[in-house]
């Protein structure tokens, strides 16, 4: 199934030109692994880079460099797929191993989140979100923007049903809630600016209390 909702073209441009930060780069690479149309656009935008590399005069390679590289590469086996979470190898290779992901339940919602990448304290981060079938991710507000995509299952967001590979975004200052597909639930990969998602209601009180305790 092809994704119906795609990242804005300026995001593909940022990816193709190296301007995307690491969380955005990984999020886009994941979308590309589902989306031939966006892959072709990235291919068009990065063609000059391949031509550049082809045209650069070769430099003599020092003896022993391959052995050095092989010694290093063979210590980094290609990452093992994570069951139920279809992240491409190019993304898994940049993440800590799945055993090290620290999951945080969202109180009373049937959802949990794990931060996979953090750019800098207070900077943007990349999160994995799992929602059980029919789970509601409660209403929350974003100080910074949010972008994300569905990895498996499906989710309702602001009247739209998003399926595997579909891209979604919520601008800074907005708030929304999510509801997972009744049968399959949902896995989603999310980039948050500011890492600042504020839950509302009693969950927000718990969130603030937990934040105070952790300082």
């Amino acid at each position: 199934m092809m994704p119906v909702n795609h990242p804005p073209s300026e995001r593909l441009l940022a990816y193709a030109t190296g301007a995307a930060d690491v969380p955005l780069r990984l999020l886009l690479e994941t979308h590309l692994s589902f989306c031939p149309a966006c892959s072709r656009e990235v291919g068009r935008l990065t063609a000059p880079g391949g031509t550049l590399l082809e045209a650069v005069p070769e430099e003599p390679v020092p003896a022993g460099l391959f052995e050095r590289i092989w010694a290093e590469a063979s210590r980094h086996e290609p990452p093992r797929p994570v069951e139920g979470v279809p992240l491409p190898a190019s993304v898994l290779a940049e993440l800590p191993p799945a055993e090290a992901w620290r999951w945080h339940p969202v109180p009373g919602s049937g959802s949990r989140t794990a931060r996979l990448v953090r750019e800098a304290p207070g900077g943007c981060g990349l999160f994995l979100v799992q929602m059980k079938p029919g789970a509601r991710f409660p209403r929350h507000a974003h100080r910074g923007g949010e972008e994300g995509m569905v990895l498996a299952g499906g989710v309702w967001d602001r009247g739209r049903f998003l399926e595997v590979g579909d891209w979604d975004s919520a601008p800074a200052g907005s708030s929304h809630e999510l509801r997972a597909d009744e049968k399959e639930g949902c896995w989603a990969l999310i980039r948050e600016e500011c890492e600042d998602v504020k839950l509302t209601g009693w969950r927000g009180v718990l969130q603030r209390a937990a934040s105070l305790l952790s300082h």
Partner: protein, 172 residues
């Protein structure tokens, strides 16, 4: 190119022989590119090592739709370089403009990329500046827009137009 794609497929299946063949075909040009950008042989060899390690790990993710294997390798190398620059000490400016890779490219020896030079020369001065800073230079779009004193949207529009123009020239 087809051979490179086949080698990447074999690397994805764990073939060391394919990995070595891919290395032997491209390590020299990759080192040439990274050396021009970093101007530091030891650093360049480290980056080449990182790039090939990434190729070993990520080969199964290569998709022909995303461009040629060389374009894919270029993207990995460029990202490794950008990540190194971004990981630099916060608040410390570049020691000199000469450390910007765009100048490394501008000052590169005349053998470098006749086709790329031709493509760059075909751009308007504004498009060329945008490409040099934001595509080849490792600047973020925001940095490049500030550097050129243009709105961010204008910069992105120039980059997009320039890349279309370059692609058309390079595939003529």
């Amino acid at each position: 190119m087809e051979e490179d794609g086949a080698l990447l497929g074999a690397i994805a299946r764990g073939s060391k022989a394919a990995f070595q063949s891919f290395y032997e075909r491209h390590a020299g040009r990759l080192l040439g590119y990274v050396l021009r950008v970093t101007r530091d042989r030891s650093l360049a060899e480290d980056v080449v090592q990182e790039v090939f390690t990434a190729i070993w790990q990520k080969a199964s993710s290569y998709q022909a739709e995303q461009g040629t294997p060389l374009a894919w390798m270029y993207r990995i190398a460029r990202n490794k370089l950008v990540d190194r620059w971004r990981r630099g000490p916060p608040g410390v400016a570049w020691a000199s403009e000469a450390e910007r890779p765009v100048l490394a490219l501008v000052q590169a020896d005349p053998e470098l990329s006749m086709s790329l030079e031709r493509a760059l020369e075909g751009l308007s001065p504004e498009q060329r500046q945008a490409v040099e800073l934001a595509v080849l230079g490792g600047y973020t779009h925001e940095e490049a827009a500030t550097e050129l004193s243009v709105p961010l949207g204008t910069l992105k529009s120039r980059i997009r137009m320039a890349l279309r123009h370059m692609r058309a020239l390079l595939t003529e």
